[in-house]
Symmetry: C2
DNA sequence: CGTGCCAGGTGCCCT
DNA sequence: AGGGCACTTGGCACG
C-alpha cells in the first residue's frame, strides 16, 4: 500500500477529498495562495507559492520559500479545519472559537496535493537541557565555588522556582540561577527577585550566583550593582560525555534498530 | 512548466539529484527516518514516518505527525546541507561550523521526493503588535487613568526601554509597561526595575502601571507589594478598527489583486 | 556581528 | 483549564 497519494481534480473535488482525508492522513498542498489571519493580531499575506501542511491532529502550517518559521499556522486542538471551493479557488479555513481567531487560505492555483499516511510512535529524546545542567551542578558544586554546598533543586518561592539552592561554609544561603545560554538582563532581575525574597521574608544573608554560557557588559554591570557572582559554564563542552552515558541504552537502539 | 516534480531512483540517484537541486528549489521528502542532533543540545529521534522540507535558503525542517513545532531543524545560513547515500539509506546531513552543531537524518525508506519550484516575493503584513498598542495608549491616555498625561514613547534607561512614560496632575512620573498578553511575574519585576531606576537616579516620586490582557493572582500580589497599578486592556477588541484603517490600502490590494 | 527583546511565540509540566 | 517558564526558542531592529 502506498504511503503517499497525489490527488487530482477540480477545486471542488479536491475540497471533497480533503474533507474526507482530514484527521486520517497528513495533507500537503503545493500551490499559489493568499492568506488572512484575524485574532490576537491581524495579518495578511499577498499571493505567492506556498507549502501547506495539515497534520492528523489538525495542526496547520503554511510555509513560504524562506525561513524555519511558518508564515501562518494553527495549533492542534484550536478548531476545525474546513476545505471548500469558491469557483476554481480552494479555500482552507480555520476558526478558533475560544479566541475568535480565523485563518483563511485561498489557493488560486494548486500544483500538487499529496496525502501522507504516516505512522510515528517515536518520541524525541533530548539531553542537555537547563534541568540537566542544574543536575550536573548539583553533583559538581565546586564549579559554583570552592565552598558551595548544594541543598535543594527546584525550590519553590512565591516569586518562582529557584534552580539551585545551597549554603557556604559560613552558613550563608546561596541562590543559583542557571541559564544554558548567554545571560540576559531579565535573568539578573529574576535572580534579584529570589534573593530579595529570602532577605525580606526569611531575614537571612543571601548570596546570588548566576550561571550562564556568557555575560555581556550590561549584565555584568547589573550583577555588580546587585553584588551577584557570574559563573561561566561551557555546558556544551561538559555534557557530551554525560549525554552519551545517559542516552547510551537508547542510542544503542538508535544505531542498531532496523525499521520494521 | 510544472512547478512540482516527483523524483525517482535509488538512494544514490536521489542524493545526486537533490545535490543538484539544492538551493534552486524547495525539496520535500516523505519517508521513514531516524535523526540525531548534536550541538547546543543532544537529541535523537527513533525511526518514524516524517516530512522533510529543505528550502532554497538552506533552512531545513523535519516534521513529525503532530504539532506545529518541527522535530528537528536547521536555520538558514547555518551551514551546508549534504545529500548522500549509505547503501539503500538516503542521508541528509548538516554541519554548522560556528556552533559545531551536526544534524544527521537517515531515510531508510523514501516514499516520495518532490521538488517545488516556488516563487514568492510577498511579505507578511502584520498589525497589532505591542508597539501598536503602546502607540494607541499614547493617543488614548484615559485608558491608563483619568489624570495620565503621556510624555515619551520608548524611553531608554540602563535597565532597558520603557514603553510609555508620562506624568499625573501632581507632576509625579508615571512609568507604563505594556504587555499584549497576560502579565507574568517577570513583567512586574521588569517594571519594578524601571521604577527603582527613576527613584534612585532622578530622586523623584514614581508610579508604576502595568498594562496587560490579564493578571493572575500571583502577579496581582506582586503588584500590590510594589504598589503598582494593573490595567486590563482588551486589545483584541480595540485594534480591529485601527488595523483596518492602517491596512486598508494594502487590504484593497489583497482582496482585488488577482494572481499573475 | 553581538545584544536586547518581542512573538499570533510553542510546548511542557505543574496545580 | 490556567499559570509559570524553558526553548537547538526564531526573528528583527539597533548599536
Amino acid at each position: 500500500m502506498k504511503r503517499t497519494i497525489n490527488l487530482k481534480g477540480t477545486a471542488k473535488e479536491l475540497a471533497q477529498q480533503l474533507s474526507e482525508e482530514s484527521c486520517k492522513k497528513t495533507i500537503v498542498i503545493f500551490g499559489f495562495c493568499k492568506a488572512i489571519f484575524d485574532g490576537r493580531i491581524k495579518s495578511f499575506l499577498p499571493g505567492g507559492d506556498r507549502l501547506l501542511i495539515v497534520k492528523k491532529d489538525e495542526s496547520l502550517i503554511l510555509h513560504g520559500s524562506k525561513g524555519v518559521k511558518p508564515l501562518n499556522w494553527q495549533k492542534s486542538g484550536a478548531g476545525k479545519i474546513n476545505y471548500s471551493a469558491k469557483g476554481s479557488t480552494l479555500v482552507v479555513s480555520t476558526f478558533r472559537p475560544k479566541t475568535k481567531e480565523t485563518l483563511e487560505i485561498l489557493f488560486t492555483r494548486v500544483y500538487q496535493t499529496t496525502t501522507f499516511d504516516d505512522h510515528d510512535s517515536a518520541t524525541l529524546n533530548i539531553f542537555g537541557s537547563e534541568s540537566d545542567l542544574s543536575d550536573y551542578l548539583f553533583d559538581h558544586p565546586e564549579i559554583i565555588g570552592p565552598d558551595f554546598q548544594p541543598t535543594t533543586r527546584e525550590y519553590e518561592t512565591p516569586f518562582g522556582f529557584i534552580d539551585l539552592r545551597g549554603v557556604d561554609k559560613h552558613g550563608n544561603i546561596i541562590i543559583v540561577e542557571v541559564k544554558k545560554q548567554s545571560a540576559t538582563p531579565a535573568d539578573a532581575h529574576q535572580l534579584k527577585r529570589y534573593v530579595d525574597y529570602f532577605q525580606d521574608v526569611e531575614k537571612v544573608s543571601v548570596r546570588g550566583v548566576l550561571v550562564a554560557a556568557g555575560f555581556s557588559e550590561k549584565v555584568l554591570s547589573l550583577l555588580r550593582t546587585y553584588d551577584f557572582k557570574p559563573v561561566v559554564v561551557f555546558w556544551q563542552e561538559i555534557f557530551p560525555s554525560k549525554a552519551t552515558l545517559n542516552m547510551s541504552h537508547t542510542l544503542d537502539d538508535f544505531y542498531n534498530n532496523n525499521p520494521k
